[in-house]
């Protein structure tokens, strides 16, 4: 196959396309950092919900609405923050999602566990302006 032949329907010769991809790969970390800087507040708002849920659970008054909201936010965090390089925070969010998704009633002790997990998650997300692995 000729390197000048178009591939994959991009409409650009291969050699040109390769240069474009290389440039994009080099630029990508900076783009991700900029998106994170702009969107960090929205992501941390999801952490706020988990903190409220942990506090309510520790106090023995986690209502179904907040429980469902926290489960959804944990799921979203698990899927999102890893994309910005926060692998540990993504794992912690997945742990929180699994706990909040259990069918059995949750205990106050699990509220304390959730608070610890969420605190660690927030610490990682707030610690660096440069996401881990992207810097």
């Amino acid at each position: 196959v000729s390197r000048l032949e178009d591939a994959g329907g991009h409409g650009a010769p291969m050699a040109t396309r390769e240069r474009e991809v290389s440039a994009a790969m080099v630029a990508m970390p900076d783009i991700i950092r900029k998106v994170w800087a702009r969107r960090k507040g929205n992501v941390l708002a999801r952490v706020d919900v988990l903190e409220h849920a942990a506090a309510a659970l520790r106090a023995g008054r986690l209502d179904p609405r907040l429980h469902a909201e926290a489960y959804s936010e944990a799921h979203k965090l698990a899927g999102a923050v890893g994309t910005f390089g926060f692998a540990r925070a993504s794992e912690l969010a997945l742990d929180a999602e699994r706990m909040l998704g259990r069918e059995e009633p949750l205990s106050r002790h699990e509220g304390a566990w959730l608070a610890t997990v969420v605190a660690e998650m927030r610490e990682e997300l707030e610690r660096s302006s440069d996401p881990v692995g992207v810097a």
């Binding site: 591939a7 994959g8 329907g9 991009h10 409409g11 650009a12 396309r17 390769e18 474009e20 991809v21 994009a24 790969m25 630029a27 990508m28 783009i31 991700i32 998106v35 994170w36 702009r38 969107r39 929205n42 992501v43 959804s72 799921h75 979203k76 698990a78 899927g79 999102a80 923050v81 890893g82 994309t83 910005f84 993504s90 997945l94 999602e97």
Partner: protein, 125 residues
């Protein structure tokens, strides 16, 4: 140039995925922030494939997919689900829906085009 419709309710995920698919994948990307908007855009933009988030408020990914399957204009468009839930049971459940593939979140923006390309049989580079 291939066109992808990206449906995800999270702004930051749409933004990163769009940059990745356009700059690295070399594809045109149209975005939608909800299942409802995704269905409308699928008809308007005539995409070659759809990346569809599973957990969204309102119409979620599976419900959106089922509606796309009911429309003549969109039923043949390959759909890839994006989800943080990728346990074997979830994957089987999604496969039974008839989607083309499932890509796990979090995704790596550097390799997302490769994953999409592999699922669709497209060249990502």
């Amino acid at each position: 140039m291939k066109r992808i419709l990206l449906v995800d309710d999270e702004d930051h995920i749409r933004e990163v995925a769009q940059v990745s698919l356009e700059a690295v994948g070399g594809w045109e990307v149209v975005t939608a922030g909800s299942g409802e908007e995704g269905i409308a855009k699928a008809t308007e933009a005539d995409p070659d494939a759809i990346l569809l988030d599973v957990m969204m408020p309102g119409l979620d990914g599976p419900a959106t997919f089922r509606q796309l399957q009911q429309e003549d204009a969109t039923q043949d468009i390959p759909v890839i689900l994006l989800t943080a839930k990728v346990q074997a049971s979830d994957r089987e459940r999604f496969a039974e829906l008839g989607v083309t593939d499932v890509i796990a979140k979090p995704f790596d923006p550097m390799t997302l085009p490769d994953e999409v390309g592999a699922a669709l049989g497209w060249s990502a580079q």
